[in-house]
């Protein structure tokens, strides 16, 4: 097990005052909170900061931790001395705000877990003996929304046994995702949350849907947007081009003198529903590079013949 330097985690000297500890944690928490910071790794850092604060904000735990000595380095292999916490009772310190299931083995070795306390605190928010509802996020492909799909998901959730102990259990579930789902919508799986207590019915599981960023289609509600590159001559003269859609390739008719950013609507080709969404192909004019002398001559000819000034409106 690695030693954790809680002072380093919060960017503090060992001599920091309680006020400084609080300020340092608040600052880090605001920056790293998973609802605020979407960077990968932010959530882990947020949990580490929470663990460090849990110890350093509590004078009892902090004193005990300090007694381990300043010679330990973060990451160093660590074993707690047998009598390290003699004379300390971590009774009133409390596990007030953080979710102790997120804490490290290092923390657990030193301070144990307030399992029963944590469990009763969580259930105080729910109704009577109903099991708690759970929530998870699931990322699917846009195509899955067109056809419906079956996905296997892994869920980690704390489970309370008869003796009141909480453990993190992993379970997998095969979920059928209904056709016509859109981003941000929730799927409810009745009875898949925490089991009820006594006669109480089990909680439900809510899955929030997000789409993979596949670089091709973006969704807004049931409408799907596709950026479709076309050549300058296709834009000028119009004509038929092939375009991918989540349900297969279609032929699209480009109007004459089409311009960049123009949206071509394919009615009802968005995500199915009542009403079904539309698919919008947003035209993107791609200019072929002049690679050879012949290419260059062609461009020169165009420049002479077309008398085209793209900056006419700018008055230069």
């Amino acid at each position: 097990m690695d030693f954790k330097d809680y002072y380093e985690t919060l960017g503090l000297e060992r001599t920091a005052t309680q006020d400084e500890v609080k300020r340092a944690y608040r600052k880090l928490a605001r920056k790293l909170h998973p609802d605020v910071n979407k960077e990968p790794g932010a959530e882990d850092k947020f949990k580490e900061a929470g663990e460090a604060y849990e110890v350093l904000k509590d004078p009892e735990k902090r004193t005990a931790y300090d007694q381990l000595g300043a010679n330990w380095q973060a990451g160093q292999d660590f074993q707690a001395p047998p009598d390290w916490n003699e004379g300390f009772e971590f009774s009133g310190g409390g596990y007030t705000e953080a979710n102790e299931a997120d804490f490290s083995d290092f923390f657990e070795t030193l301070f144990g877990r307030a399992r029963a306390a944590g469990a009763s605190r969580q259930s105080s928010h729910s109704f009577h003996a109903h099991g708690q509802d759970h929530y998870a996020k699931i990322t699917i492909d846009v195509r899955d929304a067109y056809e419906g799909a079956t996905r296997t998901i892994s869920l980690q959730a704390p489970e309370v046994d008869k003796a009141g102990h909480v453990t993190l259990k992993t379970r997998s579930l095969r979920v059928s995702i209904p056709k016509g789902i859109t981003e941000g919508k929730h799927i409810r799986l009745a009875g898949q949350g925490t089991p009820g207590i006594g006669q109480g019915r089990p909680g439900d599981l809510y899955l929030e849907i997000a789409f993979h960023d596949n670089g091709q289609f973006t969704a807004e509600g049931r409408d799907i947007y596709l950026d479709l590159p076309i050549a300058p001559w296709e834009a000028a003269m119009g004509g038929k081009v092939k375009a991918p859609t989540p349900t297969g390739v279609v032929e699209l008719k480009i109007p004459q003198n089409a311009h960049a950013g123009q949206k071509l609507r394919l009615k009802g080709r968005g995500i199915p529903g009542k009403p079904a969404g539309n698919l919008y192909a947003v035209l993107q004019i791609t200019v072929p590079p002049a690679k050879t002398d012949d290419d260059r001559k062609l461009y020169e000819q165009m420049a002479q013949q077309m008398k085209f000034d793209p900056r006419a409106k700018l008055g230069v």
């Binding site: 609802d35 095969r174 979920v175 929030e208």
Partner: protein, 105 residues
């Protein structure tokens, strides 16, 4: 554990939720949700709390609001500002992603 994967569970798409369902899904008290409504953070349809119907997006908003209060000690007014800014940032991220695809394509 692996045995449970055999069964396929089908779900229903949540369109609207009642006050009780919203509270259960987020693990929060009804009084607290009422305060969010009073602050204009959630906007249910219907006149009285018993008849309130929340759009499904409220589940995400209420959960985020609860995290902000529990983890960071943000008050109701602060939650309202933070959620608005998060929505705005999400929209901008969306746009930036699209523009990046365009310029790299």
């Amino acid at each position: 554990m692996a045995k449970r994967t055999a069964k396929v569970v089908s779900g229903e798409i949540v369109e609207v939720v009642s006050l009780a369902e919203l509270c259960r899904s987020c693990g929060v008290r009804a009084e607290w949700v009422v305060e969010l409504v009073e602050e204009g953070i959630l906007e249910p349809e219907g006149t009285a709390p018993a008849r309130w119907r929340f759009s499904a997006i409220s589940i995400t908003r209420a959960r985020t609001a609860w995290h902000l209060q529990r983890d960071l000690g943000v008050n109701k007014a602060g939650i309202a500002v933070a959620l608005n800014l998060m929505d705005e940032r999400e929209a901008l991220h969306h746009l930036v992603r699209r523009l990046k695809h365009l310029s790299s394509g």
